[in-house]
Amino acid sequence: MTGEAFMAALVDSIAPGGRVGHGLALPAASLVGCDRNLAKALADNRALQVLVDSIARQAGGTSAFTRSSAQERHALLEAVQSESPQAFTGLVALTLAHYYAQPQVLSALHWPARPPQPGGHELPAFDDSLLKPVLERGAIWRRC
């Protein structure tokens, strides 16, 4: 029940990509390997397997799911989410964990495509001239 096109359609319903705010364009989940990641995870995750099988079944088969429109797939997944919220959250978390770890996605968000260490990030030193009005007001702590 887990054809490649079905897996791609499933993860793309979770993270479809495309043009989003601030002039950014995000890749679809299947373009960054979320479908293969899901297929791998299914092998040893029984709860996920049951969920994915049930999505296919409710769609009338994997091909029917793949052929249906993005809106139809979204509506079907919303129904599945309300039936099996915990398992569905697991599917979303697995897909997004892989998605937002991909260099293409981080770059598309204008964020460095590397882990935080060892490079860290540059930030300008604190400018204490900002505190002028706070200091002019004087002490405000409650004496007791």
Binding site: V20, G21, V92, L96, V105, P115, Q117, L130, V134, W141
Partner: protein, 528 residues
């Protein structure tokens, strides 16, 4: 059961309370044989996830801040976690159960309480008064600052004068600057935070490079944690730290402590005689161990009661400008104490602080959206990521006897009884959050936010676990005296956040360390 060689003092737990206590006592009473027993391990090679591709998802698995989440992910090798039944608490308990305690995964915001926090009953008719004052604790705050290594700026008008901080303040970023300008426009107080983070070399540790995910531990050692500060100094004074040792019971004979029983890493059980036992196992671990030791049985005992957690509420402002994203230590960059003190016309007693914190990783921000999936979720994420200012309302939590930690009639695999927390928000806190949200809206509007998103009471914010063995002069309403000595038995002292009678509206680490230093000085004097 193997019997160990007797020691003078056993300290249970190596977090801020236990580690500061061990160092101070070892320095002031060098002849004492002091042994720290810690259930978790030393972090090996500072092997945290910040340098790995999976750093974002690690925060939801083995490196989650919640012990329950770590256990669900198969456990973390350094943190010897136990399950906590939190089904009756909207806020979930967070901690680290390894050497260094919760300072390993804390955000290291390092504020002090204020003089009024010690006198809430006398000043405002709420909570209870401490058995001592800010002035009594002040020298120990200063000593704790020096040992911990604090960056910041002296001269905050919302506090009595503090000594020069050892290092300049953290960068506040573009988001911090916008928020600061908004506070200025409103004529409200703000100040850059005191943080237990190196902004330059200090204590043999290097400076922070603003990498971001401090709550998964600091690989660089720039963030102060007790495994890097107090414990090595205590060990240099002769203190022994036995890690991987779970204390199962404080042993008591004729109302006097005789030592502890503990299980080592292999599960072998040892009897450890000691003249004096200091428990610093955190606001949940401490009552759990003491209940297991047969204490707090009287139905009127306050042991386990008055759990305080500082409920928080977030307001995010969205901006067109490019801001910082998750750069800079994830805890607060600056705070406002404009609404810290009581003004009854607001509809509640006591007050709150507003912290300006930083953004999280893209995954963390994506997962907390509702819905978290589909085209709208991705649009929302792009609107928020690198374009938001995060304000956090941190409320003063007043003691309520019904908010409590209890043990259940069932044992956990670690050999201690199962533990449960029950917690409900007071009407006072709810009113504070509602009123606070009107203020954060003013800040965000003044900063030019396009849109505001509110997230009251996210569950994973149970950072502060306090008040469950409270201190006071009257044994009927407190569990320990002003020196942390248990009223029920002699030779037992408590040296962690459990003993705080009230908690102000600020993070507790600095106060826990200062209290432990003070109590250790008093014990050293007593034993001299």
């Amino acid at each position: 059961m193997a019997k160990q060689r007797p020691v003078d003092i056993v300290i249970v737990g190596t977090g801020m309370g236990g580690a500061a206590f061990a160092w101070q006592l070892s320095r002031l009473a060098p002849n004492l044989k002091i042994l720290c027993l810690e259930r978790g391990k030393w972090l090996k090679d500072r092997d945290m996830p910040a340098a790995s591709a999976g750093w974002q998802s690690a925060a939801f698995g083995q490196w989650a801040t919640s012990p329950n989440a770590r256990l669900a992910a198969g456990g973390n090798p350094w943190s010897a976690d136990y399950a906590i039944d939190d089904s009756e608490s909207p806020l979930k308990p967070l901690m680290w159960n390894g050497v260094g305690g919760s300072s390993v995964n804390w955000a290291a915001h390092f504020p002090r309480l204020k003089p009024s926090d010690f006198l809430t009953r006398r000043l405002d008719g709420a909570g209870v008064d401490w058995p001592y004052s800010y002035n009594d604790l002040e020298p120990f705050y200063d000593l704790n600052d020096a040992m911990t290594g604090v960056c910041g700026l002296a001269g905050d008008p919302a506090y009595p004068p503090k000594p020069q901080r050892a290092m300049p303040p953290l960068p506040i970023g573009r988001a911090g600057e916008l928020a600061a300008q908004a506070f200025n426009a409103l004529g409200w107080h703000w100040w850059p935070v005191d943080a237990a983070i190196n902004t330059g070399p200090y204590g043999g540790r290097q400076a922070c490079n603003n990498c971001g995910p401090c709550l998964q531990g600091c690989m660089r050692g720039a963030k102060s944690s007790c495994d890097l500060t107090y414990l090595p100094a205590a060990m240099a004074n002769g203190v022994e730290v036995r890690s991987g040792c779970i204390v199962l019971r404080v042993t008591i004979k004729n109302e006097r402590v005789t030592g502890v029983t503990y299980a080592d890493e292999d599960g072998s059980v040892h009897e450890q005689p000691a003249s004096h036992v200091v428990v610093a196992a955190n606001g949940i671990g401490t009552p759990r161990l003491l209940f297991a030791s047969g204490l707090g049985r009287d139905p009127n005992s306050v042991l386990g009661r008055h759990l305080m957690m500082h409920p928080v509420a977030y307001a995010r402002g969205l901006f067109d400008d490019d801001l910082d994203g998750p750069a800079g230590p994830v805890g607060a960059a600056l705070y406002s104490h404009e609404f810290y003190e009581t003004d009854l016309s607001r509809g509640f007693v006591r007050g709150f602080q507003i912290q300006v914190t930083r953004e999280n990783s893209p995954l963390a921000q994506a997962l907390r959206l509702s819905p978290a999936w589909g085209p709208l979720a991705q649009r929302d994420l792009a609107e928020e990521f690198r374009h938001s200012i995060v304000l956090m309302i941190v409320t003063e939590d007043l003691p309520d006897a019904e908010n409590r930690v209890t043990v259940l009639d069932r044992m956990e695999p670690d050999g201690l009884p199962a533990v449960k927390m029950r917690y409900a928000l007071s009407e006072n806190t709810k009113a504070m959050i509602d009123w606070g949200y009107e203020r954060t809206s003013e800040v965000l509007r003044a900063a030019g936010a396009r849109r505001e998103i509110r997230a009251p009471l996210p569950p994973m914010t149970g950072w502060h676990l306090l008040g469950t063995a409270r201190m006071g002069d009257d044994p009927r309403s407190s569990f320990v005296d002003a020196c942390g000595r248990c009223h029920e038995v002699s030779g037992l002292q408590i040296a962690d956040g459990s003993i705080m009678p009230t908690v102000g509206a600020v993070n507790p680490g600095s106060t826990i360390g200062a209290m432990a230093l003070k109590m250790a000085s008093e014990l050293a004097e007593e034993l001299a």
